[in-house]
Symmetry: C2
Subunit: 213 residues, 2 copies
DNA sequence: CTCCTTTGTGAATGCCTATTCACACTATAG
DNA sequence: CTATAGTGTGAATAGGCATTCACAAAGGAG
């Protein structure tokens, strides 16, 4: 009874946010119209005043995630100009994002999100590719700066960048937080950093990040 | 009518295999008792003669996957004694496994597989950890052999090993095969190889795998 | 103030699902 | 041959789900 009436713009935003939150905490499988509605204080059918279907709500949630990823890239680019430092910062931001929104990222890589829906699959694929392209851009720029070895494809590097975090994130969630993503991120970064950095000089033996432990 | 009667041992095997195949092709979301039964030529209720629940069938499928992963490790250990070569072979086997069984691996990392079921979550976590431990073993042995740099933790390396493939596998599936996992695997391996190999001599400039392209 | 559009309600519908159960068949042990 | 345990059948149950629809309230435009 008597939930206050809000304009559809506000409601759409609210619904997407709530759906995002529910996915982050309970997983996408548990996301139902009823649950979203109840969380807001509405009745399920009310959601259809603002979204035509559950699919549309999911699309809105995915947009939220995609935007956030690109925001992270933008943030690190403003914070530093050195490519390696940018990547390191981005890694940290990504991990923070994961930790703050448990299951959220998994949705992007999850099957449910696009099981039957080919249109959404394409959208998701594009979203990930866009993120990867931004990372590759940073890498390419690092190669021009001479801080990243020139004999690797930026696309490969960006893919491995993702690989530094994503499986770890899953393990973190699987283990109920026992597995330490942050720690892993730091260790993985050292290895990754060494792998992609330009050899310093022709051969001067310098390897400042290859110190023990 | 009249599907021949088989012993429960054979049926269990058959059901697990069929369920695995269905997951690989249609994804776990589409896996239903009805579908499994129909594929075999049975009626849904017949499955309950051999498994107490759908969950038990899923467990059997996960065992299939886990076994296969460990088999891969065993195979590469028999095929070579050099740690780096073993890892390279394992990478290739893993990619083949992915290509042959599309969605199968995703299940292990997928949320559906353990959304509510904490027992299975633990089983899956253990399964992955076992696989990672085996890889870490190879790494540690490579460090003793002197072919892998000693200043990295084997656990970190094994995690990154997984990271070389898993996100790529997802992209491959998302893109309907457009994204080339095999190619990515090769390029990523070069980078990974350089990252973990022991420095050759104090400083002789040798970097045989750091050639362009 | 009144009308009409927008937003919220509650019940109903229809689909898909896992699971159960009484029954039927069949092979084999005795 | 016959009883019995093991296996397959078909119908029925029950729960969850997205979605629809006729109706109610609310609030701004005129």
């Amino acid at each position: 009874m008597s939930t206050e009436k809000l304009t559809t713009e506000i409601r759409k935003e609210q619904i997407a946010q709530v759906a995002f939150g529910l996915i982050a905490t309970h997983g996408i499988k548990k996301l139902s119209m009823g649950r979203v509605a109840r969380t807001i204080g509405l009745v399920p059918s009310a959601l259809y005043r603002h979204f035509a279907s559950k699919d549309e709500i999911l699309d809105a949630v995915l947009d939220l995630i995609g935007d956030r990823l690109l925001e992270n890239v933008k943030a690190v680019c403003e914070q530093s100009t050195d490519a390696l430092e940018r990547l390191n910062l981005l890694l940290k931001l990504h991990i923070i994002f994961i930790r703050e929104n448990q299951g959220a990222i998994r949705v992007v890589f999850s099957e449910d999100a696009h099981a039957d829906n080919p249109a959404r699959r394409r959208r998701l694929y594009d979203m990930i590719q866009r993120y990867l392209a931004k990372i590759a851009e940073i890498v390419a720029q690092g190669q021009e700066q001479g801080v990243i070895r020139p004999d690797v494809e930026p696309a490969t590097v960006s893919m491995m960048f993702l690989g530094m975090i994503q499986p770890a994130a899953i393990l973190w969630q699987m283990s109920d937080g026992a597995f330490d993503v942050t720690k892993h991120g730091e260790k993985a970064w050292k290895l990754f950093h060494d792998a992609i950095q330009a050899k310093v000089g022709p051969c001067d033996g310098t390897h400042d990040s290859a110190r023990r432990n």
